[in-house]
């Protein structure tokens, strides 16, 4: 199994993945101290190194890590449902006993079947079944529900009904336009001789900030304003083009 080859080098453990599992299950390695993210990162590196994705191994890995995660999160939430997984020795013994008895019951049944099989006369039956085309079928052989016209009607009815219109209101759409931001900038520029870009977009979301930049570019193109920025990411100062203080 490929997964067994996965070598881990973690803070609390170093060795193959399957050994880690064994140690966790035996309480030798404390799951609470184990950084599962490290395990996942190691696995991803491992996958990259191999250059191929073995779906079966990947599935196994996901299942195991999910189980570990669940176990760990339960441990971290200890106190709320302690009794669910922390048995008293007596309770654990009862649980185990019930399982052993059940298993033993069917082992007994298995022994019986084995004996019964051995005691059967050595007869042989014809093994070739009739070809399907020659077999006679009666309606009683078929599950009645399949032939129930009402269920066919319901299925067709379901297909014919128009589905309810999807409610898309929860999907946010950009409500800000370049035109609005243009008006906003012009309004601000009418009142001051120089304007800090940050002030123009204070409290605005990313989309609005982006639209404001477009509006600014538009103003510049139309010769209505100029802007200066001393270095990347520093303050942007906007001035109306007509202002005598404009330096270009």
């Amino acid at each position: 199994m490929l997964l067994a080859e996965l070598e881990l080098d973690l803070e609390v453990f170093s060795g193959p993945f399957d050994l880690l599992l064994t140690l966790v299950l035996r309480d030798v390695v404390d799951l609470l101290e184990l950084q599962l993210a490290e395990v996942v990162v190691t696995y991803l590196d491992f996958l990259q190194a191999r250059g191929e994705l073995d779906l079966e191994a990947a599935t196994e890995f996901i299942v195991l890590v999910a189980a570990l995660l669940e176990l760990k999160s339960r441990l971290m939430l200890a106190g709320e449902d302690d009794e669910l997984f922390e048995f008293e020795p007596g309770e654990a013994a009862e649980e185990l006993l019930a399982r052993m008895l059940e298993a033993r019951r069917y082992r007994g049944a298995a022994d019986y079947l084995e004996g019964r099989l051995a005691d059967q006369p050595e007869v042989r039956y014809r093994q070739a079944a009739l070809p399907v085309s020659l077999r006679r079928r009666s309606l009683e052989d078929v599950d009645g529900a399949i032939w129930n016209p009402a269920s066919l009607g319901r299925a067709l009815g379901g297909l014919l009904a128009m589905p309810a219109k999807l409610d898309l209101r929860h999907i946010g759409s950009s409500r800000v336009t370049v035109g609005e931001r243009l008006l906003h900038l012009r309004d601000l520029l009418r009142r001051v001789s120089a304007l800090d870009f940050d002030d123009a977009v204070r409290g605005a979301d990313r989309m609005t900030v982006a639209m404001t930049v477009f509006a600014l570019l538009e103003l510049y193109k139309r010769g209505e304003a100029t802007w200066t920025q001393d270095e990347p990411f520093s303050q942007i100062t906007i001035r109306p083009a007509a202002s005598p203080a404009a330096t270009g």
Partner: protein, 213 residues
């Protein structure tokens, strides 16, 4: 068993001949109801014909035996032919079942329909391989899905034929293989001691263990 000395060539009733032919043609056991329908005769008449056939097929009379299994009647080879059949067909009548397969088969036989996870839970080990072998050998088959979407299995007609059963209702009561109360008590004691040994270090709760012994 009938007196074997009385074997003689005696023409069969026409209906008995038809029933015999149908059993010869059919690969699976056929019930009296089905036979009656095919022959367009009342079930009682078919039962009489089957009785006549039974006399003819009394063990030791012919190379075939008439067997009542899986809720119907079927023809099978006489055990006397088995060594020769083995040489002719080069295929064992039934390859031995492993203990894991037998256990799995027992669980399916008693609890059907039952899912693979449930089988694994009872046996305490993974059931994939024995389930696959039993499916492959035609002893069990899928019979739908559980409410959680897992495939559930049941035993097949072949199972009934091989184990000489009329139906799974004919299996003995399963609780007879439960250990005796004394054995259960011994087991419980051993488990408790093991549990306490493991929990040593943690404060021991004697009242609790006393309650269970």
């Amino acid at each position: 068993m009938e007196d074997q000395a009385r074997i003689e060539v005696r023409p069969l009733d026409e209906l008995a001949r038809v029933v015999e032919a149908l059993l010869f043609l059919s690969g699976e056991p056929v019930g009296p109801g089905e036979l009656a329908e095919a022959c367009e005769e009342p079930v009682e008449a078919v039962e009489r014909a089957l009785g006549e056939l039974r006399e003819q097929y009394v063990t030791g009379a012919r190379g075939l035996v008439l067997r009542e299994v899986a809720g119907g009647w079927t023809l099978a080879s006489d055990p006397v032919a088995e060594p020769a059949a083995r040489r002719l067909l080069a295929k064992p009548r039934l390859a031995a079942l492993t203990p894991a397969q037998l256990e799995t088969l027992a669980i399916v036989a008693y609890l059907q329909p039952v899912s693979r996870p449930e089988i694994a839970r009872i046996r305490g080990v993974d059931a994939d391989s024995p389930v696959a072998s039993l499916l492959d050998r035609g002893l069990i088959e899928e019979s739908g899905r559980s409410q959680f979407g897992a495939a559930v299995y049941r035993t097949t007609t072949l199972f009934l034929k091989l184990f000489g059963l009329q139906s799974t209702d004919g299996l003995p009561e399963v609780s007879q293989w439960d250990p005796s109360p004394e054995e259960i008590e011994t087991l419980r004691d051993r488990l408790l001691r093991a549990g306490e040994a493991r929990a040593s270090g943690a404060p021991r709760d004697d009242a609790d263990s006393n309650r269970l012994t």
